[in-house]
Symmetry: D2
Subunit: 378 residues, 4 copies
């Protein structure tokens, strides 16, 4: 939620296009492209970066820095490709502006911050997004991914992206000198057993046909090799596609953490819920409309079908907060035969030249056009 320069850049771009806009949710920007009567369609692009030091070697690589919750300053980059999303949305917006005769209605352009922390969509809704912008019939959005070849898009009906839960675990041990483990309750040994034990949940407790992930993304403990510290902090991130699996997974994690602390004779660790992303579910009927619109733009052979991904999105919150349907799709990052395809969140993530951007822009145009009820020959 520190996307100040990005927000100013977007505002300047909208100004150049002559489109009215307002700030919403801190660094969020909403553009209102009004063009007579007709449906209201919202399109969301996310704009936030990640605390990763860019290692792409690109001339235009990020040199920006941000601040972690604990105050540490770190390098940041658009490691998840959100700059592509923003650029594609601005390009599409420009095309609609130059073609005002070709459509009617209103497009609500939502440039949303804080997707990675699940804070942005909620922040914009809480800041009165739908009081200040007209309510849409459908909310659209897209994401660049390596799994789809550049030049193509992929979408699905029904569940599209996973629910994500994040937990912060604070393990309380008992400090002692490293030469006297008998006077300690070692929080690093305890944390290590929590991590190893958590593996059994996905491996043994969840049905093999049900997708689930339990990732421990951070493990921090200790300041000196010869002092057994008094605490360890872990953060966990889970992915599930159904409520049934989620409702089995989270209690199992808590059960393991609690029991491993008991095995160490340690106090009950604190388990704090950092966020909950719901699963993102595409409305089946709207998905068919959008698919047809993108196919009219790119050609039907460039619109693929994919199963649900384990990534998560707070995109769904924009539509579910007002009870309207949404549709979300993916566009390709790399040529199918590219030898190196660094994934999102990698320090090397860098979509492949202009084709992804152009495809993203054209997919946005095709999808929005269809949702506006405008049709075009495929």
């Amino acid at each position: 939620m520190q996307e100040h320069r990005t927000a100013e850049f977007i505002e300047a771009a909208l100004d150049r296009l002559g489109i009215e806009h307002f700030r919403c949710g801190g660094t969020g920007v909403v553009g209102l492209q009004r063009n007579g009567d007709g449906p209201v369609v919202a399109f969301r692009a996310d704009i936030d970066g990640l605390p990763i030091e860019e290692q792409t070697g690109a001339e235009f690589r990020s040199e920006a820095r941000g601040t972690l919750p604990d105050g540490t300053e770190v390098p940041v980059m658009h490691g998840c490709g959100h700059d592509s999303h923003t650029a594609a949305a601005l390009a599409a917006c420009g095309v609609f502006e130059r073609d005002r005769a070709g459509w009617s209605g209103t497009i609500v352009w939502i440039f949303q911050p804080g997707e990675e922390t699940a804070a942005g969509a909620n922040a914009m809704v809480a800041d009165g997004l739908w009081d200040r912008a007209p309510r849409p019939a459908v909310v659209l959005g897209q994401h660049v991914v390596p799994a789809v070849p550049a030049g193509s898009v992929a979408l699905c009906e029904g569940p599209a992206m996973a629910a994500a839960d994040a937990l912060k675990v604070t393990i309380h041990g008992k400090q002692s000198h490293g030469s006297q483990p008998q006077d300690s309750i070692d929080p690093i040994v305890l944390g290590a057993f929590i991590v190893t034990r958590l593996q059994t949940i996905v491996a043994r407790e969840i049905a093999p046909q049900s997708a689930a992930v339990v990732t421990c993304g951070t493990f921090h403990a200790g300041v000196k090799e010869n002092i057994i510290p008094d605490r360890a902090e872990l953060t966990l991130n889970t992915r599930t596609l159904t409520d049934e699996v989620r409702d089995a997974l989270i209690p199992a994690i808590r059960r393991v953490i609690s029991a491993e602390a008991a095995a160490s004779g340690a106090p009950e660790p604190e388990v704090e819920e950092l966020y909950r992303f719901p699963a993102l579910v595409n409305d089946a009927e709207q998905a068919r409309v959008v698919r047809a619109g993108i196919a009219a733009e790119l050609g039907a052979e460039r619109v693929l079908t994919v199963g649900p991904g384990m990534g998560s999105e707070d995109f769904g919150g924009l539509a579910t907060s007002i009870g309207v349907p949404n549709v979300y799709w993916f566009f390709g990052a790399y040529a199918a035969d590219a030898t190196e395809q660094p994934v999102n969140h990698s320090p090397q993530f860098l979509p492949d030249g202009e084709l992804p951007l152009v495809t993203g822009a054209r997919a946005a145009i095709g999808g929005i056009r269809a949702a506006l009820g405008e049709t075009r020959e495929a």
Copy 2:
């Protein structure tokens, strides 16, 4: 090695006593108390602190701050009691100064920095300690500990404190988004298995009668709960009393680290030796001389015998560098019936009033006097 203010404090105290001194090894201070012909005896007090925030609630609690090797500024305290050592040495020095008629010879007062990092003794020797100070017949030293009741001292012949080795382990994994573990090599899971597997070395590979410790004092990995990081850093600290056990322990640790990386399909981790403390061995004959001297000062019933401790000391390096014997003893921190006895390196560590300080000073006096060949009725 950042004991600047402490060193200045010591220099001022020696100045007040009129004792010549010089800096040695950066923040080390050496006082030369010359008093005619006679033996040369060295007495060492260590002066360094630890990166622990003092939580004793004492009026005179530390509010000092220091800098970790990575540049982070942290609160520091004399968490191992080295301020007691320094104070006791200065008090003893004052007593000898006021009693110049009562002894002859030379006392070399070594106020040594950096004991906790094993850097200080070596730094002073490397900086020409024994070229600039006369070579002693014996080097003496002492440490405050909770395991001995306040008012008493304890010493032993032969091995007195453990050898310590410290290793830094850098685990190389492969970064990926937290929702896609299949694209990662998870360094936190690997680190957790290294920690759990290391437990078997002390439990199964070292003879139960042989003392050994393997502590993992720090475990740091990851910046975000939904990114699987590309590395984890662990530091390890070991304790052993004999070369035979040490020579079994260190290769076993390296074997486990290497094999667990192989189990994860990860590259070979880097294992860097941070330091090696040798075991501290008291010269048997000199120990009997010193014991008698302290007994003459405190009463024989206040001089106890203890087995070797698992703590480590770089003290031994001062004497072994010039091939002379050394003797090291412990003095008590708490009344035997004290309900709370926080151990060294605890944020609550605070010896119990004046008795420990007085005992430390008198033990130093008795030990030095005996080593100088002066005797006194017990």
Copy 3:
């Protein structure tokens, strides 16, 4: 492969129906129901039991005993429901026999032993099954399961059941007295770390959307609590749905076993492949034919569609050995609202009264009739 009494029972039943038969593959029985010109259709029922002591409390519960490979005698039961399969097949056979006017062609009834050990189908093929019986156009089979409500069947096109691999792992340690672990290489500790480490493969190395199972079904080591044994024996069983996942899983298992032995300083364990079941894949076109036939018999609303199951079957080997298609379906074991639904291989497994049996028989009749090219109004 010890189904002697079951085989004799089947032979007597076929004799009563006047159907020619022959032994094949030891305790396998093949019935040839010839009825003029027309297609040849094979139907397979498996007849083997499991070394589980039946605890259903049924009057007709198994009191049979069998012999394990190591010679131990153990109680056995039809814990996987194969007696239902056999009974349903014999019932269907009787219906076809009484209705010879209603169809023409040849039905090959394959009563197959040794499904659980993957030995039976291969044994029958190796014993000349398809030289002695006419080659069929399609091979059909079915299995009773709790996941389908009694009275219904379920089938799918494409992958229907998982590939299974079984490995026997012999861990070589070094024996010693239990009080002297330092003289041993402890194979139980090593085996425990293999089991815990294997959990990471499904949890972290296989994509969450890809189904995979690694089960350690047996762990045997030691004869006395105070002797560290010199070996441990584990058996593993894996499930996968695609060759891609299988080809990642098995090498990962071998990598973990090898590396954990290295972590213990133990010799390389022996890993012996006990068997490989291929995945069972239903021919799509034949599956539609069979579905229609069963729907005609039971009503279309009683023919469900299911995703692939993680169970395994050697059924596929009967058809793939001669390059003909096969179709396999499930019939229900329990009323949908039954409060207790013990699963296959449970000591309490007991399908629910006559309905499962009748449904199994009618499904066999409908499927076979359709495969023979006979149609009937739904």
Copy 4:
């Protein structure tokens, strides 16, 4: 407690010497060698074997078989060297018989079964040993070990051998088919985590200077690689030298077992105490008497001093049951320069020719003679 043939052999030997004897505690034999007035001294030799298949290649290797508690027949051998003890005792008995003029008093020869299972000493006491034999002033005993060179003996004052506790752990899981781990509670995974977690007790909870062992000697679960079993059985054996350590160790083991079951969502495992051997403590004064007696027989340079061993013995129960002191020593098994020195309980354990036997006999003679108050020039 199946030493029937050994007991008959001993009885025949005593008959040949003309010494009265009686059975006691099943297969125990007590010989009473009465020779006028004087002290009563008891000497104990243990006579039981172990379920190990002898692999020494000796001509006289054991081909005997025994029966485990579960009824399995297994090969047995005197894997702990108890045949040496018995032979040495019978030889010493013969020497005293031929030299009746050289001593007076009574020697109670206790040939004790069931040492390895801690059942024998108690069984003999319970069967009225001290009602049927005269009460001795001291009870003596010895054991052959590789750690002492052949021709020498070693003894110590105070603690001589470890306390041992044995626990049987029955883990209750939930059975399921191996392809459906989600329906199971996997007792093998749970057992593996118990074993790995137990390692932390010795490694982190017991002071490094305190000797302790936790061995899991047996792990048995499962009958088939594709069935997740409903239980696993482990047996554990612990060693400690002091009550303080023992009182920390056993509750820690129970805590780990209980917590790991909770981590699996499994019922509380059953933990059954199989036996408790107390530590064996030599009476200091009697040890000095015996040392002098053995030195008179073998030469003082052949009587060494050792620290406590981690092995255990039920020997102490014979004396403590009647409140008299005991002394226990070791005699050597191998020449000091023997290249191969298989330890007790190894299938290759075979003391080295006649020297160990002769030394054992002479040590018994010297020790008993001293305890009888007879002295001889060293």
